[in-house]
């Protein structure tokens, strides 16, 4: 794909004093959201696109920081002048969701009531809570309606939820590699990940900050497990196969196969910077996500409240949220006579395909966005 990166970016912080009442019954009396913007908001404020992040994402979506040239945004390949999310045309907003660990208020933030980190006291947040918090950020930025709300995986679920909760504020929604709700298998994987964290002796009931420790072992296991579900069997086979680090078996339990080495590396890297409580919250947000619950499980009735034009995209090798799951959303939109296009992209990278640079995949997103009238 032609086009350039947005280059040097800065993150910003917005403080909100108005209490946010959460789906879980919890209340956040006040909170901060960190965010980044790329491009320029036009005079009519009609060219804004919200990019929602997935489980481990954050507000640093594109570009790099002046003092950290190697710290490149997680979806840099799709954003910038001449790229599908063209910053010469659109104003892009990315933020870190509530409960996160990259600067927005989350379990590792100080609870003003106690002066200590929130830890286990941080309330469970749901996708719809994020949408409400994001709407307040939109208000702050003067954005009445988004030209588009988009995201992959859990980010796509936020785009879907936006279109239902605030139909008048979403003109287009791009839902990539998502599902209308998790399957039993999806929840099962999430619970094994949570159990790894919850049973780590360093977890201390979620208040590990006070013990100057972190449940690194549990978080590492959770990430290793998650990582397996993000990749495809084919890709793992191609990339690692049964390759050994040394030429012969060692008949022991140290790293032998390359796939073991890769997963342990990914687990260690992730456990080094991510917050375990945030991981727990994000997986619960996924498990609870099911907008059709408000309509007795009738997704068609739920999607009937949306007014947006939709682009739904899935990936052929994604076994976490298969193409069939995306087609459930497509069917519900079609039953309401909504404008919807659906593309099943043949990419080999499993669920993680949504982050990859691919001419056809990016071409589809680009073509859809080009037809948006500002």
């Amino acid at each position: 794909m032609p086009g350039q990166s947005v280059g040097v970016v800065e993150s910003q912080r917005a403080h909100f004093d108005q209490a946010l009442h959460l789906r879980s019954g919890g209340v956040l009396p006040a909170y901060d959201l960190v965010y980044e913007t790329y491009g320029t908001l036009n005079a009519a404020k009609s060219n804004a696109i919200l990019v929602c992040h997935a489980l481990s994402g954050h507000h640093h979506v594109a570009g790099h920081y002046a003092d950290q040239p190697d710290n490149i945004g997680w979806w840099d390949n799709i954003i910038g002048p001449g790229r599908p999310l063209d910053t010469d045309r659109f104003f892009i907003v990315g933020l870190n969701n509530l409960g996160g660990c990259h600067g927005s208020t989350g379990p590792s933030s100080l609870n003003p009531a106690t002066g200590k980190p929130w830890g286990a006291a941080f309330p469970i947040v749901a996708v719809n809570d994020w949408v409400h918090a994001q709407a307040r950020l939109a208000d702050r930025l003067g954005i009445d309606s988004w030209a588009a709300v988009m995201g992959g995986s859990l980010g796509g679920m936020q785009a879907l939820r936006w279109s239902i909760t605030f139909p008048e504020r979403v003109r287009n929604a791009i839902v990539i590699a998502a599902a209308p709700k998790l399957s039993a298998q999806n929840i099962a994987f999430n619970d094994v990940a949570r159990q790894a964290i919850l049973t780590d002796p360093d977890f201390h009931g979620g208040n590990y900050y006070e013990h100057n420790t972190r449940p690194v072992r549990g978080l590492r296991l959770a990430r290793m497990l998650g990582h397996i579900t993000y990749l495809s069997d084919d890709q793992m086979g191609e990339k690692f196969g049964r390759e050994l680090r040394n030429s012969a078996f060692s008949f022991g339990f140290d790293v032998e196969f390359e796939i073991e080495s890769y997963l342990r590396y990914q687990g260690d890297k992730f456990a080094g910077y991510f917050d375990a409580n945030t991981y727990l919250l994000m997986t619960k947000a996924l498990d609870y996500f099911d907008p059709s619950r408000e309509d007795g499980g009738n997704l068609t009735a739920t999607m009937g409240r949306s007014r947006a034009n939709f682009l739904i995209t899935s990936f052929s090798t994604d076994w976490r949220f298969t193409p069939a799951r995306s087609k459930e959303i497509v069917a519900a939109l079609l039953a309401n006579g909504r404008n919807v296009s659906y593309a099943e992209i043949g990419l080999n990278f499993g669920h993680d395909s949504f982050l990859m640079e691919d001419a056809h995949y990016h071409g589809v997103v680009d073509a859809f966005l080009r037809n948006i009238k500002l």
């Binding site: 069917a331 079609l334 039953a335 006579g337 296009s341 593309a343 056809h360 589809v364 037809n371």
Partner: protein, 199 residues
């Protein structure tokens, strides 16, 4: 005689479709027909396509397009969701002929089907000369043709009869796109049918 976008069947199809109708175009390609129907008849349109390049082209054309394989049915579409379901010059490429016709009449009130007539006299002459036919409406060599079902107007009407499908209207065109009214199975190169089903 000039025809819309060089496709004489498009004008016929457009004439059968009322403004505001919901139209599903199976094998919609880059969405040319749907775009024409949206612009000239003010319909609401969706297409189904299997090819990546056509998905991209249709989205670029601003057309709703769903990627899918017609051979696997139309599961994502509800019963009677559309006023018209169009299958333009595609039936001869589909293996599950009865299946797709039933699916069309399940999701749509009416089906519009166009296909090349293999009994067109020039095609017959070609076969008598010892060659598989290549024409305006059969523009492929035998070795690169996507066509897998070879049938005539009479064959198709027999199948409709067997399936209990009602033929509401039929238009037959010659190779230049002019209407044919006599000896249609012999003089017609392309047939366009408007089908429905008793409920």
């Amino acid at each position: 005689m000039t025809h819309t976008l060089g496709r004489p069947d498009f004008d016929l199809i457009a004439a059968w479709i009322q403004p505001g109708h919901r139209v599903l175009d199976l094998g919609c390609g880059d969405g040319t027909l749907l775009k024409h129907l949206i612009e000239t008849r003010g319909v609401q349109g969706w297409g189904v396509e299997i090819e990546d390049a056509n998905i991209l082209a249709a989205i670029r054309n601003g057309i709703n397009v769903i990627q899918g394989n017609l051979e696997k049915g139309l599961d994502e579409f509800a019963d009677q969701a559309f006023d018209h379901v169009v299958l333009s010059r595609t039936l001869q490429t589909v293996r599950h002929t009865e299946g797709i016709l039933r699916e069309m009449l399940r999701v749509g009130r009416e089906a519009v089907v166009s296909f090349p007539n293999f009994a067109y006299w020039k095609n017959l002459r070609s076969v008598l000369d010892g060659r598989m036919p290549v024409s305006e409406d059969l523009p492929y060599q035998w070795y690169d043709s996507p066509n897998m079902r070879f049938f005539t107007l009479l064959d198709f009407e027999d199948l409709c009869n067997k399936m209990g499908v009602i033929i509401r209207e039929r238009s037959v065109l010659d190779e230049e796109g002019n209407p044919v009214t006599n000896e249609v199975n012999f003089l017609g190169s392309l047939a366009v049918y408007r089908l429905t089903q008793n409920r």
